[in-house]
Amino acid sequence: MTTPGEVTTAEPMAPEQHPMSRFLREDRMPHIWCSSCGLGTTLTCFIMAVVESGIDPKDMAVISGIGCTGRVAGYLNFDSFHTTHGRAIPFATGLALANPDLRVVVYSGDGDLVAIGGNHFIHAARRNMDILCVCVNNFTYGMTGGQAGPTTPITAKATTAPYGSYEYPFNIPYLAVASGANYVARWTALHMRRLKNSFREAINKKGFRVIEIISPCPTAFARKNRLGTGLDVLKYYHANSIIQHGADPKDADIEMGGKIIVGKFLDVDRPCYRDYVTESISRQLGGK
């Protein structure tokens, strides 16, 4: 302890390197995300999971589409690809097939993955392509100013739904399970430890894996729906999330003001696309 005016002889402490700096493109900071947005938290969990799993970052590639979450690829210091709106999954598909040694992660938002990219999402799941698909769901198009989308809960307000949304939203875990994914989990940005564990578990699996993360958008969705600050939204998650591993995903709809069922819905080891390619070709063409 020093008191004002006291002269200290101790060497000034060297600025400590941030423990995650080697995984981040620090030359791209500051990031564009709003204060109390959940995206930074999800990225922290992801990096912690990569560290714990002992994977060399050079063996991973991250692909994003467009939107706030789409910026993840620009901040992670992996081989990273920021593609067009909705197209991260097909880009990742080509990448994963050309280099099977890579662990390929798609990290994007709800609008990107299940609206404009919805067709790619269900087909990659159907093929059980070797991709970990992280979907950060903030119920809105944040980057473009808070328009309604396919995950906006019915009655929720948005800049293009001033009278409240009239549409039923997608239930992403149910969609992923029905489409053929190998692993499906949902957490909120509040569930850091569980989210990190889920990332670690999913990184080490094969086939199409989906982790949905419910995340606050304080600037657009929360403000338009008078949900308070990002912290208020996290308090809401704390009070209303129900951890229910193995829940039937069809019961996991999200409604305004309702409970949010989180946990691991599915964890199976159905052979993935490449397993079928390898087995079939070696059987029919003699391992050419």
Binding site: K58, A61, F81, H82, T93, A98
Partner: protein, 384 residues
């Protein structure tokens, strides 16, 4: 074993679509992502059988948006890749053709043109996507497009398209048509030793020194592939030489100029044309693809009638051989442009003629090829 199967050496009776697939195989294509559409599906079918023989993968995508993206992803994974399509599929690929242009990603896109607009004539010929090939994706850029007029050229020019796409790091288009795709003719494929796999140039620089989007003196940077340890960042946003987004007018100017210059400054290397009896001609036919085959007949008919006519066939359509047309315009009376549309390349010829030669069009809506008699009539009119 895989190397033995790469090149289908020998003399074959092949349709244009199959010859195209064999050209891609010879070039070393390892990935095909596509969506079935008439009249290009035979390329996909052939690739689905051939690629597994060399350890490659055919993947039928959910649509053409996915197809175009998948081949870009495969290219960054280190494989040479291609897709093919027709009609509406070409429109769907435009979004991510632009991504490929901005990511400077080598790959090949084959369009077996059919009659349009919209669903149009799925089984019948057209050549009305030529301007879409040039300008179809939003924004400013230059592209390379080749126009084969025989199954032999479907083989040769598909192989060449892979080579050009690697050397200039640009998606390269093979703008064929239903007639050339479906006609069967002799195709001669050299031995594998004479058809080396098209090579990608990879950087020898260390991580930290390497700039994936550098543009040394009108050229392109060598590539790396994901997993090489360079931690590259690649974005469809306007970016600097590192690949980092920079959203301002200065960065936009540097990047877009580079995308244009790397093609335009190498036009002499890229452009290929076929000239027939151009010296001393009064009238010159300009044509490409299946229409140029009809023009061969019209040339003979015109010569029988004593007309001094020649032909300037576009093997490379984009970049357009403007200097050659500009020079020819000073020496001839007129150009007659023959294409299956109501004027696309015609306007390029007219632009480059600079008023020095008249420019005539023999239009055709597609669904059939020209009648040589109509071309002859235009030649006579132009020679007056």
């Amino acid at each position: 074993m895989a190397e033995d199967r790469r090149v289908l050496t020998g003399e074959h009776f092949l349709n244009g679509d199959h010859a195209c697939a064999e050209g891609a195989m010879a070039a070393g294509c390892k990935f095909f992502g596509g969506y079935p559409i008439t009249p290009s599906s035979e390329i996909a079918e052939r690739m689905s059988e051939r690629l597994p023989e060399v350890g490659g993968i055919y993947l039928q995508m959910e649509d053409e948006l996915a197809s175009m993206n998948a081949i870009l992803g495969a290219a960054w994974g280190g494989w040479k890749s291609m897709t093919c399509t027709s009609g509406p599929g070409f429109s769907l690929m435009m979004e991510n053709l632009g991504l490929g242009v901005v990511l400077e990603t080598p790959c090949v896109l084959v369009n077996i043109q059919r009659g349009g607009p919209s669903t149009g004539l799925p089984t019948l010929v057209g050549q009305a996507d030529m301007m879409q090939a040039r300008w179809g994706s939003h924004g400013d850029y230059e592209i390379i497009a080749l126009a084969p007029n025989s199954p032999q050229e479907m083989f040769d020019l598909t192989y060449k398209a892979f080579d050009l796409s690697e050397r200039y790091r640009v998606p390269t288009l093979v703008m064929s048509d239903e007639c050339v795709g479906h006609m069967s003719e002799k195709v001669v494929i050299p031995p594998a030793g004479k058809m080396p796999e098209v090579q990608r140039k990879y950087t020898t620089k260390k991580p930290g020194e390497y700039l994936p989007f550098d543009h040394p003196a009108g050229g392109v940077a060598p590539m790396v592939k994901a997993g090489d340890g360079y931690n590259i960042h690649v974005t469809g946003l306007t970016h600097d030489e590192r690949g980092y987004p920079v959203i301002n007018a200065e960065a936009q100017d540097v990047m877009v100029r580079h995308l244009i210059d790397k093609i335009n400054k190498n036009r002499d290397d890229i452009i290929d044309v076929e000239e027939i009896d151009v010296e001393g001609a009064d009238v010159i036919i300009v044509s490409y693809g299946i229409s140029s085959r009809t023009c061969y007949r019209a040339l003979d008919m015109a010569k029988e009638e004593g007309l001094k006519v020649g032909m300037f066939r576009l093997v490379t359509v984009w970049p357009f051989p403007e200097e050659q047309v500009r020079e020819l315009a000073k020496r001839v009376k007129a150009f007659v442009v023959v294409e299956l549309n109501f004027g696309q390349i015609y306007y390029e010829v007219e632009r480059c003629a600079c008023g020095n030669a008249a420019t005539y069009l023999v239009p055709h809506a597609g669904g059939d090829i020209h009648d040589p008699a109509d071309i002859l009539a235009a030649l006579k009119e132009a020679a007056k």
